[in-house]
């Protein structure tokens, strides 16, 4: 299970709908940011994440008869929303972790800062005058 796998992209486009308009280079940029963050984490956590992504892909099969990456966006969103509200801490935490990685990959890109209008500058007030 890699960051370029269909399930990661399926989650990413649900978490940040704008990612569905990404071209290959933008996906690569996002994946590189996330890969760097994961590489800095302990091995055990990396294994948990890989396992959770597999579970994410196959869980919906039970309810919807399809893997997550094959679900339509509305059902995918519904499924992920259930996960984030799950009574099981393990599932809430797992989704929270994947969601955080997606947001890091998306909003960690310099282009995203410009896109949302974030303009902080080391020169502070001087840069605004």
């Amino acid at each position: 299970m890699t960051l370029s796998s269909p399930v990661f992209r399926a989650v990413a486009t649900c978490v940040v709908p704008e990612a569905s308009r990404f071209d290959a280079a933008q996906w690569d940029e996002m994946a590189a940011i996330v890969a760097r963050a994961i590489a800095a984490r302990p091995r055990a956590m990396q294994r948990q994440l890989a396992l959770f992504l597999i579970l994410l892909e196959w869980f919906p099969l039970v309810r919807y008869g399809r893997r997550l990456s094959r679900l339509d966006p509305a059902r995918r969103t519904k499924f992920l929303d259930r996960l984030q509200r799950s009574p099981l801490l393990l599932l809430r935490r797992g989704f929270w972790g994947v969601r955080t990685l997606v947001l890091m990959g998306y909003y960690g890109r310099p282009a995203a800062a410009a896109e949302i209008g974030y303009r902080a500058d080391a020169r502070g007030w001087e840069a605004r005058r």
Binding site: C14, V15, V16, P17, E18, I33, R36, A37, A40, R41, T77, L80, Q84, R85, L89, R92, R93, W96, G97, R99, T100, L103, M104, Y106, Y107, G108, P110, A112, A113, E115, I116, G117, Y118, R119, A120, D121, A122, R123, G124, W125, E126, A127, R128
Partner: protein, 501 residues
């Protein structure tokens, strides 16, 4: 095979505690006392503070600012750098409330003494209230909204000199305006002859006062200067050791050292769990320019929360919002119109909330949210929402179901914002005020150190950081850490005088 070195005093850590002790003991160098500061993180050059979010978070913070508690429901932010967490705080400078120090009940620790010492560092660090023209809309709206909603809004004194308003304090000031120990106390100590070695992690302290130190190599392509010592393992002998590696670092170090430490070591961890709330205004406001944290509302005593102005960077803001998808994206794309408030819960010592170490010696933080802490976050969220709406915001994004509070919800916040939406694992709760683990007290039966930071039963070992706090401080802690560290330095001077006599 390790290299041996010998010093009179070794200080572990260079933040608010270690930096202060280093400066206060520095005059002893003239008398031939050899003093060493060991800092785990690197020393950064001025031009390395770029303000780029992920790059600086990786360089300055442990785990990029996302050190997870054991059950994964909260992230802890603490720096690893020359200057410790003083490199990444916003410089907000408050002295300890009298009611808190009284409640701590540490024999020999008087509020007046702590205040006097903290004031010394406030002066040294150029602490003052920012002039009005430097205040941005994000802060101004907090003042206006807070007053309209009936709250007492106070201005933070801050320790800046020549602040240009980059808003990037938490990523290390790119203009060297913030007067942390990296700018004030450590350079003074070094000029007086104190030796500071960076990238030097203390693995353990032996009962014979030998420290096992590992100096790491600077990895290719990373920020920071190489260590002053050659990479490798060192055995550093010391007559007096001062542990000031922060609440987590110091507690973990003492726990993995074969020392007869008091039983409560690692216990009593508190951290002011915090939530970032945002609200959307109808027009653009200045938020990502100017000092980010100029005002606060303190309801610590009555409702267990403190509200502070804040502004964060794109990724931190994104992960702090509840939920995902179109609503989340819409709020993010409204960034130039966003007002932000940080809610800090005034948590208290709870059984089981503690610092431990893994089999390999790495720190593990056990933390569970008590109903009282959750209640503090809920009440704080309602108060923040009142302030946002009173300031003219048209919607507030908060932990609620659904997460967008509209103006029509302003009159029914008790109904809309309830504890049921504050479930661990569903919220981005983070904490940067890490306290406790080596609490002060009377004896080894109830604490780890005495009121002067001396570890019970180990007179040569002192602690000088926020791990000394026997309970949470309920305000931003750095000036209190400096005040306590000043007492530790005085204690060390007394010890040395006794040895000489």
């Amino acid at each position: 095979m390790s290299t041996s070195r010998s010093y009179d005093i070794v200080i572990i850590g260079s933040g608010a505690g270690g930096g202060t002790v280093a400066q206060e003991l520095a005059p002893l160098v003239r008398d031939g006392v050899r003093i060493l500061v060991l800092e785990k993180g690197p020393r950064f050059a001025d031009q390395e503070f770029t303000g780029r979010e992920l790059e600086m978070a990786d360089a300055l913070y442990q785990d990029g600012g996302a050190f997870l508690t054991r059950d994964g429901t909260m992230t802890l932010a603490f720096a690893s750098a020359y200057g410790g967490s003083t490199v990444v705080y916003t410089g907000t400078s408050l002295t300890a409330p009298q009611r808190v120090i009284r409640a701590w009940g540490v024999p020999g620790l008087e509020h007046a003494d702590l205040t006097r010492r903290s004031a010394k560092y406030a002066e040294q660090n150029n602490v003052h209230a920012l002039d009005d023209p430097l205040i941005n809309d994000n802060n101004r709206l907090f003042v206006e909204g807070g007053r309209k909603a009936g709250y007492l809004v106070e201005q933070f004194p801050v320790n800046v000199k020549g602040c240009r308003g980059s808003s990037l304090c938490n990523l290390g000031c790119p203009n060297q305006a913030k007067q942390g120990t990296n700018r004030v106390q450590l350079p003074r100590a070094e000029r007086a002859g104190v030796e500071v070695v960076t990238r030097a992690e203390v693995l353990r302290i032996e009962p014979d006062r030998t420290l096992t130190v590992r100096v790491s190599q600077k990895a290719a392509g990373t920020k920071g200067a190489p260590s002053e010592w050659a990479p490798g393992d060192y055995a550093v002998r010391a007559r007096i050791v001062v542990a000031a590696a922060g609440a987590i670092g110091t507690s973990a170090l003492l726990l993995r050292s074969p020392l007869p430490a008091p039983r409560s070591l690692g216990h009593g961890f508190t951290c002011h769990p915090a939530l970032i709330l945002v609200a959307e205004h109808p027009r653009p406001i200045t938020n990502d320019v100017g000092h980010p944290k100029s005002y606060f509302v303190d309801h610590g005593a009555s409702e267990r929360f403190v509200l502070e102005t804040c502004v964060y960077f794109p990724f931190v803001t994104a992960k702090s919002l509840t939920g995902f998808g179109a609503t989340h994206s819409a709020i993010m794309h409204a960034f130039p119109r966003l007002q932000m408030i940080l809610i800090l819960a005034c948590d208290h010592v709870a059984s089981g909330n503690r610092i431990a170490v893994s089999r390999t010696g790495s720190p593990i933080v056990h933390y569970r949210f008590t109903p009282e802490t959750i209640d503090g976050l809920v009440r704080g969220t309602r108060a923040a929402a009142r302030i946002f709406f009173a300031a003219g915001a048209r919607r507030v994004h908060a932990p609620a179901d659904p997460p967008l509070l509209e103006i029509a919800d302003a009159d029914r916040l008790e109904e809309r914002v309830t504890a049921s939406s504050f479930r661990p694992g569903m919220l981005a709760v983070s904490a940067a005020h890490l306290m406790g683990g080596c609490g002060m007290g009377r004896t080894a039966a109830d604490s780890v150190t005495d009121a002067w930071g001396r570890v019970h039963g180990l007179p040569w070992l002192r602690v000088a950081d926020a791990s000394l706090f026997p309970d949470s401080l309920e305000i931003n802690p750095y000036l209190t850490i400096m005040g306590l560290a000043d007492r530790v330095a005085e204690g060390v001077r007394r010890d040395l005088a006794v040895v000489r006599d």
